[in-house]
């Protein structure tokens, strides 16, 4: 791995939504670098484009123009098939809603990305998944149906799941948006620990300054661009 190159390099990123006649340009030539293992807060007012940026970085949404390099790979212009594999290999997601797959247990949810991966669930993957569940304090809930967990517990399982394939970048879109203060802080602390230990880069969107203050770096999205470094 060439340490000189940042994990994420975004240049002149434009995203325009076209809904029938109306065009909304949300990202307007955005530039952004994220280092390996960074723990970064993404702040901005509601509607500023935080979710849009995260989904574009997450390869779920194609940008209108611009360039995105993640882990040494230019992802703009990759085929749907390559993007799907890239997502499974390199990225982890934590969303505000839709935490878990309701028909599976907590452990199965954490294991799910390993099932999807080419080599499938290995013994090592299973051990790691159990370790991650222990780490988020939910070993005793491993065999619970995910619907039986509280909001904070679900989000911790979702975080373990985002990490199970040892991704280089975790994208978290307002992960604490539905949690109370205590659960929010607990989740933030966990993510920070993991980020530092596993050298995993986290990009966490929030409109909450206290949440952002738990991060090593905070960037602001204003008028479709990053307003600071």
């Amino acid at each position: 791995m060439i340490e000189a190159e940042p994990l994420v390099t975004v240049r002149q990123l434009v995203k325009t939504y076209r809904d029938a006649e109306i065009e909304t340009q949300v990202l307007k030539g955005l530039d952004l670098d994220l280092e390996h293992g960074g723990f970064v807060a993404l702040m901005g007012t509601s509607g500023s484009g935080k979710s849009t940026l995260l989904t574009v970085l997450g390869t779920l949404l194609r940008p209108t123009s611009g360039s995105i390099r993640i882990a040494g790979e230019e992802i703009v212009g990759l085929s749907e098939k390559d993007l799907t594999a890239f997502r499974n290999r390199t990225l982890g997601f934590v969303f505000q809603f839709h935490h878990l797959l309701p028909d599976f247990t907590a452990l199965e949810n954490v294991l799910f990305p390993t099932w999807v991966a080419k080599r499938g669930e290995t013994r090592a993957a299973r051990r790691y998944a159990e370790e991650l569940l222990a780490r988020v304090g939910l070993s005793d809930r491993a065999r619970y149906r995910s619907t039986k967990l509280s909001g904070g517990q679900k989000q911790r399982v979702a975080m373990a799941r985002a990490l199970v394939n040892r991704p280089q970048l975790v994208l978290a879109d307002e992960p604490t948006g539905n949690l109370d203060r205590e659960a929010s802080m607990q989740l933030m602390d966990l993510m920070r620990e993991v980020s530092h230990e596993e050298k995993t880069c986290f990009l966490i969107s929030t409109h909450d300054a206290e949440i952002a203050s738990r991060c090593d770096r905070t960037i602001h999205i204003v008028d479709g661009r990053i307003a600071d470094g």
């Binding site: 779920l60 499974n88 809603f97 839709h98 799910f112 999807v116």
Partner: protein, 406 residues
């Protein structure tokens, strides 16, 4: 196909408990109808066929009809002629004994009976009734028709001057066993015969219009000089009869008729029944198709959010498609297997309920003929096919919209 796709499909079915149970029940009921219909139609066909073939010959060898030869017609003229059969004497098979011996050596022929066939009138008192005369070798009397089973009165031992008649003819003539009646043949020969036995063999025509005589007596009455007019046979595989008939015709130079060609009406009825059954089967498969499609379409909508999450984890559109496709397949397979079992039980139950005191059943159902594996194969194919549309819809769900706008 990936293992997790099967796992997710099965889990989805298991966890949508009531919905899954309902659609499985729907598929199962469709297949109960399918297999019941098959058991009924096939059972009916077997019963009708059995009734018919039980008392008829499967293949009959006859002399070729000798038609008057036409004189060569002049070029460019078409011939317009009516052919009148000779009614002088029946065409006959001479030297039939070696032929019968040869036929007896063929393994596919199970019974054989050289016969003479002709017409005549019974006279008794004022009454004159037309009858069909059949002369058979006494030893082979029951080769084609089971007289032992059909005998009501008297005996089946046919001696010279004896006759077996149906109970309706006996009633009309007003005779019973041991009594006599005068028979006048189409050749004008007459003889007084003793009624040796009276039968009921199920066919109204036979019971009313046929008289069975010893071969020699019949030959004399019909002036056949030791010849026979036909050789009737039964075969082991009744559906192979046409092929055998063709072969025998080629080998012997005689005309060979098979029971299938001679029973066009039965064949027509069986075909009509089969078509009705097929229609009902198609409808039951259609309901399965529609049921599975609607259930899975709803499931695709209900699971939008989860589909979005799975896509974010790197699950491909193809995998999502196969997860839904597999649900259709499993619903079809499990539902129809249940249905096949249910159909079989239903047939057995109906037979138990309608069993007559003598142990036979009133319904022509045959549970063994329910076409169970065909039903399962068709239903599974249908359910899998029905899943195509929902599977496509599920694969097309935009993960971003599914995740954010809900």
């Amino acid at each position: 196909m990936r293992r997790f796709e099967i796992k997710v499909a099965l889990r989805y079915l298991r966890s949508s408990g009531l919905q899954t149970l309902l659609i499985l029940a729907g598929v199962a009921i469709g297949i109960v109808a399918y297999t019941f219909m098959a058991a009924l139609i096939n059972g009916l066909a077997v019963r009708l066929t059995d009734d018919v073939i039980g008392s008829i010959a499967h293949v009959i060898l006859e002399p070729r009809e000798r038609l008057p030869r036409l004189l060569d017609k002049p070029e460019g003229f078409s011939a317009l002629v009516a052919v009148q059969r000779s009614n002088e004497k029946r065409p006959k098979i001479e030297g039939w004994r070696p032929l019968v011996e040869r036929l007896e050596g063929l393994p596919e022929i199970t019974a054989i009976s050289p016969q003479v066939i002709g017409n005549g009138f019974f006279q008794r008192g004022e009454k004159v009734l037309p009858v069909g005369i059949t002369g058979v070798e006494p030893a082979r009397l029951s080769a084609i028709i089971d007289f032992e089973d059909g005998l009501i009165r008297g005996s089946t031992r046919l001696g010279s001057g004896d006759v077996l008649i149906g109970y309706r003819l006996a009633d009309e003539l007003g005779v019973t066993t041991g009594q006599r009646a005068r028979l006048r043949s189409e050749r004008g020969r007459e003889r007084t015969l003793t009624v040796r036995g009276i039968f009921d063999i199920g066919s109204a025509n036979a019971n009313e219009r046929l008289a069975f005589l010893d071969l020699r007596t019949a030959q004399t009455l019909l002036e056949l000089d030791g010849a026979v007019t036909q050789i009737a046979m039964k075969v082991d595989d009744i559906y192979a009869a046409p092929r055998l008939a063709e072969r025998l015709a080629g080998d012997t130079g005689l005309e060979a008729k098979d029971w299938i060609a001679e029973n066009e009406r039965l064949q027509g009825a069986l075909r009509a029944q089969g078509t009705t059954g097929d229609l009902i089967k198609v409808f039951s498969l259609l309901t399965i198709l529609i049921g599975v499609a609607s259930v899975l379409l709803l499931a695709a909508v209900r699971r939008r959010g989860e589909i979005g999450i799975m896509r974010s984890m790197g699950v491909s559109q193809g995998s999502i498609r196969r997860i839904f496709q597999l649900q259709g397949f499993f619903i079809g397979l499990f539902g129809s297997s249940l249905g096949a079992l249910g159909g079989w039980l239903f047939c057995r139950l109906l037979m138990e309920l309608t069993v007559k005191p003598d142990g036979s059943t009133a319904l022509p159902l045959d549970p063994a003929l329910g076409e169970y594996s065909t039903a399962i194969a068709f239903a599974t194919a249908c359910a899998t096919f029905a899943a195509i549309l929902p599977a496509r819809a599920a694969a097309k769900i935009d993960p971003v919209e599914a995740i954010h706008h809900d």
